[in-house]
Structures are given as structure tokens and as C-alpha cells.
């Protein structure tokens, strides 16, 4: 048993971290967000590194790696707050890869793998789709309605720009004129997408923690760095605990997706619920630990806080995930007691 990235996975993580550290420092994130744009050069580099196709099978032109490798990258994208369409792109691709028929896979995945087209995803409630990330540029749009999903091409939708407070990501309201249902295992695809969301959320929590630790070591009040006061330092310890448990759940779910698919339903819900809560709470605690500075636009902590809320709201909400976990546990226990009785 080895519950850590292996050498190849660490290399992927390192590459992502270095590229994003160089190409997406906070001032670039801010510039892109304030311009309502993405960093297109950064996106080209991501495509060149094969990230959109990292977890797409080789027969569709992807790199053919697993969800663990994808999580390693997406976590860093979250950490960097990278202004790019990667997250929605890979979430949609995961749903198409599991939920699409062979023909649907063959139609959509190769273009996504090469970055020729980007994909996106949103949930539908009472027939209307929630604001959809990156819909303006997307060539493949996946709509999730309960446990069913459908897909449209860009030509078959109408789009109106919609802005979230999270300006690091662009959205649109989309109306479907024509879409076709995804005919295979949509549920698994959605669970895999929730794990990708959890990875980005874990990265956001880690960023909020790191920024805060650096600040409270430096900032002095009452003749001491404020990080020396337990009122602050114990909160930082709690931020670490939230971040690390979210990471444990996320990595486990990613491994489960590849190696133990039966466990994925529970593991993915655990990952999304804990990472969603962790990122929102840790980002809020980061603002608090910074005091007045944290409340300013300039300090930039708000980018983390807003993106955490926006990511947590994607696909399924944390409380519904908790209920799924409880129901799955009850099923497991019923099955076990039937076995014992038999």
C-alpha cells in the first residue's frame, strides 16, 4: 500500500506547479479576471502538456492516464487560481467518457483531448440549465438532469453572458435548442467529475492556508507576530486539518475511481463534500486572519473565497452528498447483515 503520488505522478504535479507558479502568479490571475478573459497563452501551454486529454483514453487521442494524475494537475490549477477553462473541460470530458456511447465518445473526445474544442457542464433544474462555465468558447456542452445527461454542440445552443462574483471563471446562460442524451454510465462519469471538483477545491484550501501562514508570521500586533497568539495559531492548525482531510478524501476517491469503481459512489461524495466545505471555510478563515487587509480587493484572498463558493456549487451540493454517503452506508450494512444471516 502506498498512499502518496508515485514518482511519475509527482513529476506531473511538479510540472503543473512550476508552470502555474510561473505563468499564473496572482497579478496575472487578477489581470485576466478583471478583463473578463482567460490567459490564452497559459491555456495553449496546458493543451501542449496534454492536460485536457490527460484522463482520456489513448484510442481517443488522450494521454490515457488515470484520475489520480488528473487530480494532481487540477489541484495545482486550483492552487494557482489559474484563469483557464480546464476544470469544466475535464469534468465534461469525464462525463462523456463514461456516459457516452462508443459513437458519442468517438465524436467528442478526440477534439477535447487535443484542445481543438473545449467542453463544459452544468446541471439542469426544472428544465433550465444553471449558468455554465466557459460556455462562450465551448464546443461541447453537457447538461446534467438528475442521473441523466445530454450533450449539445455549440451550434445547438443560445448563450447569454452571465457573470459570477468569481471573475476568475467566465459563465454564460445557455438554452438548448437540440441535445442528445448520453446513453451509457452517466452516474460514474458524474462521480469522477465530482472528484475533479474536489481536487480544485483542495488546491484552493491549500493556497488559502499557505498565504495565511506567511502573513501571520510576518504581521505584528502587540509586539508579536499575530501567528504567536493561539487565537490565530489554533485557527491556522484547524485550517491545516480541514485541508489535509479534504486531500485525503480526494486522493482516495481518485484512486478508487481507477482501481475500485464499486467504492466510487461513496468516495466521490465524501471527497466533494469535505473539499467543498474545507475550501469555503479555510478561505473564510484566511480573510479573518488577515483582518482588514483580508477584506480588500488588493489582497486577493477574495479570489480564493469566491472560487471556492463557485466550485462547491458546481454539480451536487455538499448536503446531498452527505445524504448519499449515509444511504450507501446503510446499504452496505444491510448487505453485510444479509450475508451474516445467510
Amino acid at each position: 500500500m502506498q498512499f502518496a503520488f508515485n514518482e511519475d505522478q509527482r513529476e506531473i504535479q511538479r510540472t503543473a506547479r512550476e508552470l502555474l507558479g510561473r505563468r499564473a502568479p496572482l497579478e496575472r490571475v487578477r489581470a485576466a479576471a478583471e478583463a473578463g478573459a482567460y490567459d490564452e497563452r497559459l491555456w495553449d501551454e496546458m493543451v501542449a502538456l496534454g492536460w485536457p486529454g490527460l484522463a482520456i483514453g489513448e484510442r481517443h487521442g488522450g494521454v490515457g492516464l488515470g484520475l489520480v494524475e488528473l487530480v494532481a494537475v487540477v489541484e495545482q490549477v486550483g492552487y494557482a487560481l489559474a484563469p483557464s477553462p480546464l476544470l469544466a473541460d475535464v469534468c465534461a470530458a469525464l462525463v462523456i467518457a463514461s456516459g457516452g456511447s462508443p459513437a458519442q465518445q468517438a465524436r467528442w473526445l478526440p477534439g477535447i483531448a487535443t484542445g481543438e474544442l473545449t467542453a463544459t457542464i452544468a446541471t439542469v433544474r426544472h428544465g433550465a440549465a444553471a449558468p455554465m462555465p466557459d460556455a462562450d468558447r465551448a464546443g461541447a456542452l453537457v447538461f446534467v438532469d438528475g442521473d441523466r445527461a445530454s450533450i449539445s454542440s455549440a451550434a445547438a445552443v443560445e448563450r447569454d453572458a452571465w457573470a459570477s462574483v468569481d471573475l476568475t471563471r467566465r459563465y454564460a446562460r445557455v438554452r438548448r435548442a437540440a441535445d442528445e442524451p448520453l446513453e451509457s454510465d452517466v452516474a460514474t462519469g458524474l462521480q469522477r467529475a465530482e472528484v475533479a471538483l474536489a481536487a480544485e477545491l483542495t488546491g484552493l484550501a491549500q493556497r488559502a492556508l499557505d498565504v495565511t501562514v506567511a502573513y501571520v508570521k510576518d504581521r505584528k500586533q502587540f509586539a508579536h507576530p499575530i501567528g504567536a497568539f493561539q487565537g490565530v495559531s489554533h485557527r491556522c492548525a484547524e485550517m491545516l486539518a480541514l485541508t489535509e482531510t479534504a486531500r485525503s478524501a480526494t486522493y482516495f476517491a481518485a484512486w478508487t475511481a481507477d482501481a475500485d469503481p464499486e467504492g466510487l459512489a461513496a468516495a466521490s461524495s465524501m471527497a466533494k463534500a469535505s473539499a467543498g466545505d474545507a475550501a469555503r471555510r479555510v478561505a473564510g478563515m484566511a480573510i479573518q486572519a488577515h483582518g482588514g487587509i483580508g477584506f480588500t480587493w488588493e489582497a486577493g484572498l477574495h479570489w480564493i473565497f469566491k472560487r471556492a463558493h463557485a466550485d462547491a456549487a458546481q454539480l451536487t451540493d455538499a448536503d446531498e452528498h452527505r445524504r448519499r454517503v449515509a444511504r450507501l452506508a446503510a446499504q452496505r450494512l444491510r448487505a453485510a447483515s444479509t450475508q451474516v444471516a445467510a
Partner: protein, 378 residues
């Protein structure tokens, strides 16, 4: 124990309600400049109607409202969706501080235009190096002929870009012990030596400023409470900071929560036991803030000082407001994060609640030391 209003409290409330019915505040525009103008006009209408600074003594143009009447006042204005006063610093901080520490000339000069919202005030206490640790104020005041020259930087200054006057705390004697070398000045903002630079907040509003002072001048006549006495005067200001306002704020939290509850009800979400449990908990917390604030009013009226419950009100209000806005966004989903959604705005604005006017950490210190009598480490 009698939570009913007395005849005179009822009369006060009914008179105010009548006035508000006849003179409704109307909707506050979203755009910042228009919003400011609307709020200032509203302050002036309140003044014209005799409803500005109700807690001020009659001799200074107020109504000498009791604490209960002040609470009623703030609740009723919140109920009528009136905007917060644009001269809130003047009415709640500058006015009472000048009444307590000002001389006759200062009272005569400064109090009337506060009440009429002709002169807006701001508060120059915090500095980049003096936030929670206010006694670390480093802005320097040098005595010159006829007054003082002041150099330094203030931060988190609400209304500075619209203010004529600033309650300024500065170090007049660098050699005295930290708390002793401070003096409290009434600074005229209309001089080139005072530069105001906006600070954007996380909700992208212009609510706060940095203020840069470079040899700004304050005449001797505008020293408040005596040279070297700044810490004591500042404590008077801080003591007034939270009084009364919490009733308006907790009522606003209640309005927010009611709106969320009604939305959830319309969508049938209260059938979900989890949603109902969580909303019920939020209602309990909102009500606890209001009730605890009322208990504190009685304590203060009876004993002249807040009871043990008084120090927790701002703290529990701020955490409740954050909890409401976070749950609203969770319940309503991504639509609530619309850049123009009031839910998104409230979610972000609420992050300031636990920071401004004393961080929650500082309040916990105060409760521990001053209410519970625990020793301090530092």
C-alpha cells in the same frame, strides 16, 4: 420582567411609524454615487422631520431618546428599509465624543452640522501598523505656532472621500508610554496635506479608504479633550461604536433570513428536514442576538453599564450574519453567486462583520479579561 413597551415607548414608536409611512425612504439606488446622494438626502429628511440623532440630548438637537427608544428607532428604520445614515460616524461617534470631551465652542461649532448631515465625518484611528493594537498608532503630531502639523497614514477609513471632518488619533509625544503620548484631533479634511485614496473591498465597492497626511494642520482649538489625553477620548468613541446600531443590523439579518425562508417555502424546500432544521437554527440565532441586545439595554439603563451579555452582541450578530449568507448561497446554488445578486453581495460583505469595529478575536479577549476576569498573557 416586562418586554412590552411602555406607553411612552409605544407613543414614540407610533409617531415614528406614522412619520415613516408619510415619508418613506424609498429604494436605495445600487450605483455608489447615486446611493450616497440618496442616503445624504434621507439623512437630511430625517433631520428636517426631527428624527436625526434621536439618542442625542435635547439640548444638542436630539430627542434624548432612551436606549429602548433608540433600539426601536433602529429597528423601525430597518423595517422601513431605510438606508443606513451616511453620517453614521458623525451621529454615533463624533457627536457623543464631542459632547463628552469638547468645550463649549467645539460643541457649538461641530454638533449642529452633524445632525443636519451637512458635514460628514470619518474616523482616523486605524493605521497599517495599528489595527487591533490601537495603541501602536504612529501618525505623528508636532506642535507648531497656533496648532499642530500631522504626518502619517490612516487606513480602513469609511466615508473619508465624502467627509469634511475626521476624528484623528495621533502621537503627540513619542517619548511617553504607548497609551500616554496620544492626542485626539478634529481634522479638517479639506486641505491639500490630506490625500484620500480609495480601498476597494472584496465586494468591489468603494467603502473604505486610505488617508495620507503630510504636514496636515489642526489648530489648537480643534484638539479634543486635551493634549496627551487621546487614549481616554478614543475609548469614549469606541464605547459608542456599537450602541444602538446592532438593533438595525440584527433586524437587517432578520429581513435577509426571512427572505431566504420565504424563498425556501415557495420552492417547497421546507419539506426537507435538513433545510428546515438549518433555517430554524438560523432563526434561533437571529432572535438570540436581538433578545440579548434588549437584555443589555435593560442592564445599561438599570446599572449605567453593559451587563456580561453586552460584549457578545456584535460578535454573535456577525457570526450569525455570516452563517445566514453562507447558507443562502449553499441553498440557492450558483444562481446566488450572480455578480448582481444581493446574496453574493451579502456573502462578501458579511466577511467584514467579524473584522470591523473590533475583530472577533479582540472581542473574545475583552470578554475573557473584562467580563470573566481571566488573566492576560501578553
Amino acid at each position: 420582567m416586562d418586554l412590552g413597551l411602555t406607553a411612552s415607548e409605544l407613543a414614540f414608536r407610533d409617531e415614528l411609524r406614522d412619520w415613516l409611512r408619510q415619508s418613506p425612504p424609498g429604494p436605495t439606488p445600487l450605483e455608489e454615487r447615486a446611493s450616497f446622494d440618496h442616503r445624504r438626502a434621507w439623512d437630511q429628511r430625517l433631520h428636517a422631520g426631527g428624527w436625526a440623532g434621536v439618542h442625542w440630548p435635547v439640548e444638542y438637537g436630539g430627542r434624548g431618546a432612551t436606549l429602548v427608544e433608540s433600539a426601536i428607532y433602529n429597528e423601525e428604520l430597518a423595517r422601513a428599509a431605510a438606508p443606513p445614515p451616511v453620517n453614521v460616524i458623525g451621529l454615533t461617534l463624533a457627536g457623543p465624543t464631542i459632547m463628552t470631551h469638547g468645550d463649549e465652542a467645539q460643541r457649538a461649532r461641530f454638533l449642529p452640522p452633524i445632525l443636519s448631515a451637512e458635514e460628514i465625518w470619518c474616523q482616523g484611528f486605524s493605521e497599517p501598523g495599528a489595527g487591533s493594537d490601537l495603541a501602536a498608532v504612529a501618525t505623528r503630531a508636532h506642535q507648531v505656532d497656533g496648532g499642530w502639523r500631522i504626518t502619517g497614514q490612516k487606513v480602513w477609513t469609511s466615508f473619508a472621500h465624502d467627509a469634511q471632518w475626521c476624528l484623528l488619533l495621533a502621537r503627540s509625544d513619542p517619548d511617553a508610554p504607548r497609551h500616554k503620548g496620544l492626542t485626539y484631533f478634529l481634522l479638517d479634511m479639506a486641505q491639500d496635506a490630506v490625500q484620500v485614496r480609495p480601498l476597494r473591498t472584496i465586494s468591489d465597492t468603494h467603502e473604505l479608504n486610505e488617508v495620507f497626511l503630510e504636514d496636515a494642520f489642526v489648530p489648537d482649538a480643534h484638539v479634543l479633550g486635551g493634549v496627551g489625553n487621546g487614549w481616554r477620548v478614543a475609548m469614549t468613541t469606541l464605547g459608542n461604536e456599537r450602541s444602538g446600531l446592532v438593533f438595525g443590523k440584527s433586524f437587517q439579518a432578520r429581513i435577509l433570513l426571512d427572505r431566504l425562508t420565504a424563498l425556501a417555502d415557495e420552492r417547497g424546500l421546507l419539506e426537507d428536514a435538513n433545510v428546515a432544521t438549518r433555517l430554524g437554527e438560523l432563526h434561533i440565532r437571529v432572535e438570540a442576538v436581538r433578545l440579548t441586545a434588549y437584555r443589555n439595554v435593560t442592564s445599561e439603563m438599570q446599572s449605567g453599564q453593559p451587563g456580561p451579555e453586552g460584549s457578545i452582541i456584535k460578535w454573535i450578530w456577525s457570526e450569525t450574519d455570516q452563517a445566514i449568507t453562507e447558507y443562502a448561497v449553499q441553498l440557492l446554488g450558483i444562481e446566488a453567486l450572480d455578480r448582481d445578486s444581493p446574496w453574493a453581495f451579502e456573502l462578501l460583505r458579511a466577511r467584514g462583520d467579524t473584522i470591523e469595529s473590533g475583530t472577533t478575536e479582540i472581542i473574545k479577549n475583552i470578554v475573557a479579561e473584562q467580563v470573566l476576569g481571566l488573566p492576560r498573557l501578553r
